[in-house]
Symmetry: C2
């Protein structure tokens, strides 16, 4: 083959999900078939590996490895949260990166991340134009937060939505069964600093067996403590138990924010979140036993609870990104467009990167109920479409057997030097 475009760099950036490696598998498979790509190089720990020229070669990975990669959550290669400076102000890291790119003959870049990460893709593109280094820059969407603009959803969100719905359902059955003589209120705190997409997905738990969740508290709607307590009392009167799902970024109008006096007995600053604050408030005010869980990192790399359609779309994002390289496109962001729900009809399109970079998409008003602590049937139709189907990871001794980067080959510089 004549690999006209040298090597392609595919990098992870920002937080992980269950679908990140499915996209990697799709991109690697397509790169292995591409006539314009010699090797798809993946940096160790994202931007960290780019700065230091630490890459994995993927051209020799076989189908069995890619199949295992597809089902493995988190990022096999590692990712990063570095923020690059504006290349018009500070070019130092970019000059370092340029040398690495030249050394490794990198002629195309697939940058896979959320809103902040696509700002980085954009900066790369700007810098390489300034120094006349010809390179195709393509952005790939992901984030469990589902808060990217333009795309109708973000790969990774469907799996986290499925996990949150399942966990809410099971914790609700627990709370309900115990409610006569033990815990009456259960609170689940989930991720989402500025957007309530993850908390909203808990509504999919509602079924014959439970009416939970009874309050869904999202950053898009502040509420007073009194208003929340009234809602809980109403539900306790009705069914004797109450399940609340709250975004980490939800705020009370009568703020109980942490201040410097908010330290533990060792004198250290406390880390506790809104779920715990609400539990304290409810237990003290309503005198009912209240418990809270904080899902934290249990909710991102949810391979054992992944959504089949989520991983399928993620895989095709990877394949399409390589197609963009093959087609000679520059400075594009891949997005998913929805054409119908239940079942989901979808297609992958492209848009300019700067449409997506640095913006956040909040829950639109028509997805939030008038009372401000519930979501609408329209949201359920949307979210239910994204959680369809199960994925069975390989298992060893009945525990998931995920892909290990020990199986990957680090690139030797000599091979790739021009």
């Amino acid at each position: 083959m004549n690999h006209t475009n040298g090597n392609c760099l595919y990098a992870h950036s920002g937080g992980v999900s269950a679908a990140l490696n499915a996209t990697a598998a799709g991109a690697i498979k397509a790169a292995q078939r591409s006539e314009s790509i010699h090797d798809m190089l993946v940096p160790e720990y994202g931007l960290h590996g780019i700065l230091n020229g630490e890459f994995y070669s993927t051209k020799d990975l076989d189908q069995a490895a890619l199949d295992q990669m597809y089902c493995t959550p988190s990022s096999i290669f590692g990712t990063s949260r570095f923020k690059l400076p504006d290349p018009r102000v500070d070019q130092e890291p970019y000059i370092q990166i340029l040398e690495v790119f030249k050394t490794y003959n990198i002629r195309s870049l697939l940058y896979h991340g959320g809103g902040d990460s696509q700002d980085t893709t954009n900066k790369f593109s700007q810098f390489f134009k300034m120094v006349d280094y010809p390179i195709q820059c393509i952005g790939l969407p992901k984030t469990i937060d589902n808060d990217l603009m333009v795309t109708d959803h973000c790969p990774g969100y469907g799996s986290t939505a499925k996990y949150i719905a399942t966990s809410t359902l099971e914790a609700a059955l627990d709370t309900k069964a115990m409610s006569r003589s033990s815990t009456k209120v259960f609170i689940l705190e989930v991720m989402g600093r500025n957007a309530g997409w993850i908390a909203a997905a808990s509504a999919l738990a509602r079924c014959d067996a439970t009416s939970a969740p009874h309050l869904i508290l999202v950053p898009e709607r502040k509420k007073s403590a009194d208003n929340i307590l009234a809602g809980i009392s109403l539900q306790l009167d009705k069914e004797g138990y109450c399940v609340i799902v709250v975004s980490e970024g939800f705020q009370l109008t009568d703020t109980i924010s942490s201040d410097d006096s908010d330290t533990c007995s060792f004198g250290h600053k406390r880390l506790g979140g809104i779920g715990l604050e609400l539990a304290n408030l409810i237990q003290s005010s309503l005198k009912v036993k209240t418990r809270s869980a904080n899902a934290d990192y249990l909710q991102r790399a949810v391979g054992h609870c992944a959504s089949a359609i989520d991983l399928d779309i993620a895989y095709h994002i990877g394949q399409r990104a390589v197609q963009c390289i093959n087609d000679g496109l520059y400075d594009k962001m891949l997005i998913v467009k929805h054409l119908g729900y239940l079942p989901l009809k979808w297609k992958i399109e492209t848009c300019p990167i700067d449409w997506v970079a640095n913006h956040e998409k909040h829950l639109p008003d028509f997805f939030i109920s008038d009372n401000g602590h519930d979501i609408t049937p329209a949201f359920c139709e949307y979210a239910l479409s994204l959680v369809q189907g199960e994925v069975k990871p390989m298992r060893k001794n009945s525990i998931p057997a995920y892909f290990s980067k020990h199986h990957l080959q680090k690139v030797q510089i000599e091979e790739h030097q021009l």
Copy 2:
């Protein structure tokens, strides 16, 4: 059929698990086939329903219902945490219960719960003997805490062990992938006030893809903050990330216990646990980004992550309990004996109830490593034997479709009166 023994009461008591309803399904199926039982009655909310004569009839449940019940976590019927007084001191509630038992012609009792609950079974038996009411009392084991004496494991523990191992593995992959530029230490707080069985199960997460968990902190071993911090520093130097699993009942030797000044800004008593305390300690002392999750009620009703062998044994416990009734046994507790590991060889035996009541089984010394923050290969062989096989719950729209008690029939008194 000649139902010589009238009705059999089967009741849930104490906390829930993924395997509680599997035992119910086994007991109900056997009762339907038993010549000595007319109907297996199940109280709503355990002792609460017993005191108030609120029972579900199960004689007409068909196989499809029992199949769905088998896979449904928590307690379909509801459970309770009431503690009965010593019948030699206070007979009031017992007299109320006796009237209910006579009204409903209850001639055998299967009481399904942990150590405290078997104390209740024992009290029932004592009282009924005192008043010459002939009734067979049989105790059935369950508790995710795995802390019952005599039995080699408790049904429900295997599923929670599988959930904790899977969650630790996935959160570890998350932490590892982000560790170069974000969180370096992750803490998972799990249940276990006096025994570390659940935390210990996290060791099953270790595999090719991660060496986590790196510290397992259990109530059986107090440790100093300095000792823990040294262990974390060592692991950070080695691999750049550290995952800790801690039992809620773990204690530091240099205690950071809550006191009355430990309130939030609303003046309410704080509810935060040891995971959060450790996170505060680590972040302040080692200056590394630390996050913590509290699994709380996410770890009990883990139907989506249930262990096949756990539910299978639970089902057979139910069947065997009815066999005890058929065989005319009195005052027995069912226990599981292990005859071999990987694969597990097991049988169900009986012992006197008072061998089990009010005792707690801690992790034995040979399951805990010399350093006090890890477990031994012998424990892994034991626990791995209990997590084998997956259970697929029915699904509706790809979310688990669990059994709802709306499908159950409440008992009409007339039918069952003598």
